[in-house]
Amino acid sequence: MIQLTPWDLVIASGMIILLAITSLMLQLNISKQLIIAAIRNVIQLLLIGYILKLIFNSNNLYFLASIATVMLVVAGFEINARQKYPLKRWVGFKIGTSALFISSFAMVLLTLMVIVAPTPWYSPQYAIPLLGMLLGNTMNGISLGMDKLNQTVYLQRLVIEQRLMLGQSYHEAIQDIRAESIRTGMIPIINSMAIAGLVSLPGMMTGQILSGTPPVEAVKYQILIFFLIAAGTGFGIMLAVWMIAKRMFDDRQRLNLDILQIKR
């Protein structure tokens, strides 16, 4: 494999700086966020590169478990960032993290113990990238589904109350919104599965091919990952949306939006 030198990355960063300057001139108000994201990207990835080097050498289950916990907690926080009608911080974190945990960890354990089955099963070379991809995608899905749910329920609260007044159960009253939110969260993964290979070469496969893996081997892994991500994301979103929808009603099935952070 051709190794990259620091200068190669400097040239690529020149493109980002060019983009930042252009958007500054066009007054798009995005250059600051772009630069911050790029700097975070460099620091975080370099850091994880060195940490991975450490983990790969140690092959220790507890070390791996603590890394996995950090990944989960960060993803749990990020779910609630950038929401239009966010949940109260602690509730959002609790629901997001448990949905992520149940769906992603189940998929990763299935892969490690049954499908790929490396020795030992917690071999970090497999566990960390798998978990990373599942958490990242599931996080996006849950975040989108949650945003849609909270926003729609808030804007349609009168409709929901009307349906309750007519004697519908909270399940009936929120059914359409719940289904729509789950659908919204699942669109990205369904799209990327559907267009894979035709429009874009998926990232993981590209990486494996660049590093010299035979294309058909890379494809098999990519298919595995797609299926895991789709299942993990789908179940994660369903769990999160169901949990939030339930929390939006009290024990007498009255709409209660106390779990949203709304400035009154």
Partner: protein, 185 residues
Amino acid sequence: MGLTGPSGIGKSILLKALADMLPHQGDIFLGDIESQTISAPQWRRKVALLPAESQWWCETVGEHFQGYDEVLFTHLGFNKDVLDWQVSHLSSGEKQRLACIRVLMNQPEALLLDEPTANLDPDNRAQLELLIRDYQHKHQIPVVWISHDKEQLERVCQQLLTINKSHYDISQIAPEQTEEHGMTA
């Protein structure tokens, strides 16, 4: 029973609490059933609240109804075609008349009306008053009617509860009828 009083005194809140749509203190009885002893949806089908402004969530009128009731629909000037109408094309009067039918089709055993005719013209108002009176006579149920229109309350109520900041009083408008169910809060 008519319910009147200045805006913001809590008339609508009282009705919402009676329909168990708001947390409340005290027990609410319909006959000898207390609200907490049955599920909230069951209670809300028995004790139906008709708000001043109705909400519709599907494209067509028919999707909001389970079945069709010839008598109710014709009474308020509709025929079966109305089920295929687009909700977005309804006038506010049509919406309110249909909302009233929608509530009555649940066969409620008590009716809570929150300014049901506030947005209606005199013709529509008269039709709706008549429909409610017929339903009440037929089923002998309690009806609580919020209105700012004194004349309307005198037409449709036997008793009038006036709520003010410091006090409330109940006055008789016409000889009281014997009611099967009493509602106490």
